[in-house]
């Protein structure tokens, strides 16, 4: 899958002369380092059409990217980032402002795509992703349940489904220990209206909202497969496909797989809705993915890199891969699968609050929340231990004096 791209690159270099897929011929060698999921494959495939371009879709990009961009010259000119992975690059000042390049070559970009920090364009987003409700329409309508809008309704619906015994487990969730579980808590806690930090970067999670979020998560787990602490998005997706669960808050990018006849036994039965609300707002966070350009590269390289990158974000690319993601790029036709994202955003879900502190908090949550769910600690102790873990690492990182 990584190397597939290299092949595609080689092939498209061969085709570049003949096809008009790229509006200029690139003669400066350009390399990119991104994550390796479907949308990046689509985008880098189109970038490759300009020639002289090598795409690296790497599972370890999170580890490699900060170091590779800090090197002089940078090992890659184009980087793929998301809310979180933009932070280290911003902090270390290894990416360049794109205002000039956007003005020159970015006419087709919509204002929504431009990630601005203090008014300067630092990244160009291509897609948006969020966790939202997916549900088995047939089951819900058979049992006469309305699509749940809040988590209390989710619990009520789950209880009904459990009573009816139509599926193995009413709910699924991406509660794998670590990043996924922490993400679950972040969603729920923000949905409950919580704040993570005091102005001095001290942890602020030991409060009612924190306890409420934990309690809600625990209530939900009672309706899940007992192996929820190892279930990542692929596992939940499979549970859906094999007809084992009826509802789950799952990543929008997974929606397409529900209707894949090769894998799914529930084609056409899974529908999308906005993420249910917790006490205050939709319990979900919005994520974007996009590109940045390295600072430690010559202006000529940066210009070529940006033009190549723009060729990955054309309406033609979207047309060819319409359902691979919820694109922000012009030409995207939101299908029924995008419904959930739009509803979630409209219900007030916040963007994931990425920052250095949040990274540390996310790790602390990922390692700590499971202690409450397994019953090893009570809610107050769990939150206190997470706060302590955060404080220790924040002090080590120098964020707290």
């Amino acid at each position: 899958m990584i190397t597939k791209l290299l092949l595609a690159t080689a092939m498209s270099v061969a085709f570049a002369g003949a096809s008009s897929a790229c509006d200029f011929k690139n003669d400066v060698p350009v390399k990119s380092l991104t994550a390796g999921f479907e949308a990046w494959k689509a985008v880098t495939d189109f970038m490759a059409k300009c020639g002289n371009f090598t795409a690296e879709l790497d599972q370890e990009f999170r580890t490699k990217q900060p170091a590779a961009f800090a090197a002089d010259p940078a090992l890659y000119q184009i980087g793929g980032v998301a809310n979180g992975t933009l932070v280290p690059l911003m902090n270390e000042g290894t990416i360049r402002p794109l205002d000039g390049l956007v003005e020159k070559y970015g006419q087709q970009l919509t204002p929504n795509q431009l990630i601005k920090v203090n008014g300067e364009i630092m990244a160009v987003a291509m897609m948006i992703n969020t966790q939202h409700l997916m549900y088995r329409e047939d089951i819900l309508s058979d049992l006469g349940i309305d699509v749940p809008k809040t988590y209390d309704e989710v619990l009520a619906a789950a209880e009904k489904i459990k009573q009816a015994g139509v599926v193995d487990y009413p709910l699924g969730a991406t509660y794998q220990t670590g990043w996924n579980l922490a993400q679950g808590f972040v969603n729920m806690y923000l949905g409950m209206g919580g704040e993570f930090f005091t102005p001095g970067n001290e942890p602020a999670i030991e409060n009612e909202q924190g306890v409420a979020a934990l309690e809600m998560m625990k209530k939900l787990t009672e309706y899940m497969d007992p192996e929820y602490l190892v279930s990542d998005s692929t596992y939940v997706q499979q549970q859906f496909q094999q007809g084992k669960i009826a509802m789950a808050n799952l990543w929008a990018s997974r929606a397409g797989a529900m209707d894949n006849p090769d894998e799914s036994q529930v084609v056409g039965k899974v529908k999308m809705a906005g993420a249910p609300k917790a006490a205050v707002r939709a319990a979900s966070t919005l994520w974007w993915d996009g590109i940045v350009i390295a600072k430690n590269a010559s202006d000529e390289e940066a210009e070529a890199a940006f033009r190549v990158a723009m060729n990955g974000m054309t309406p033609e690319m979207v047309e060819a891969n319409n359902d691979a993601a919820v694109w922000l790029i012009e030409g995207y036709e939101p299908g029924p699968l995008a419904q959930g994202v739009v509803e979630t955003a409209q219900a007030g879900a916040l963007a994931y609050p990425a920052s250095s502190q949040m990274g540390l908090m996310h790790t602390a949550l990922g390692n700590g929340v499971s202690d409450y769910l397994t019953g090893a600690k009570d809610a107050a102790t769990t939150l206190r231990d997470i706060a302590t873990a955060y404080t220790t690492s924040a002090r080590e990182a120098g964020l707290i004096k």
Partner: protein, 341 residues
Amino acid sequence: MKYKTFAAFVGPSIFLMLLFIAAPLISVFFQSFYITQPVFETVEVETCTPGFPTQTCVTEQKTQPIIGEDGKVVTTVKYVGLESYRNVLEPDRAWAALSAFDFRALLTIDFWKALRFTLTFTLVTLPLVIGAGLLIAVVVNNASRLIRGPIIFVSLLPFIITPVIGALSIRWLFIGDGIMTAFLEWAFSQNISMFAQGWTIELLMMFYRVWHVAPFAFVVFYAGLQTVNQDTLESAIIDGASRWERLRYVIIPHLMPLIVFISLIHLMDSYRVFEEIVGFSSQAHRISLQWLTYDFLTPDDSGNRSISRASASAMLTMIGIVVLLVPLLRKTWRDHKGGRV
């Protein structure tokens, strides 16, 4: 052998080990006493990100590192003594839990939890690996020559298979309604979830390790059995020794150096257990010392990593392994002394 010739023979090997093992090790040792931090400033930042239908902009106080003249982040290095060790060991909490005889509380501290699992894992699998290896070796050695070849071949498979793949292949058998779980559910007619609680995962991890390493022990023991002195064995038979006695008094003493060798290798390998944690995603229930170090080192989304605590935890792991190895090292030392006379 003259010193110079000796140096020429071992030189390249020593050079590689110094460069790629000793040098990182020394830097890890020093890093465990220092903390490197960026100098932060707090500024007001307006960030605009995509939303529906239009962008959302937030203005907030952000803590961000100061970037110096040379374009790099300004950092300070601070000597902190044993603080990183304290952060890993959490001695106050550990002591409070110990003095109250509350082991559950002790095991909620990451390091002690990891130590508990690592030690149990190492010490439980050790006799199992030796026992299984010995048993297979003896039985194969008694089997007819015709089937020995194929059996040795099949027995070696779990050892040669890539660890990541081996762990995944066992995980796929058990996770969710994997076929082994389905089989167990059918056999005990109750709902079983192997990955829902700690002890079943721990069992699976131990099973995997024994499955993976026993073949190595087997093939070493089997090789050793080929050199058992047949005369001794025959005289034992003439003396009327039973099969068990022959095994106990002739074969096992003969294999003793090999048993020590396997124990040594196994202690070292299982003390740094890591693949199992990742392969079986047991982080919620069971973590190991190497996993703890790895977790400190893995950058989170925002690129933070706890180098100092990782170094401290690595040094503690090292101390642990040296303690475990001391008895075996003393034996090697005695052999060395003995060998020179």
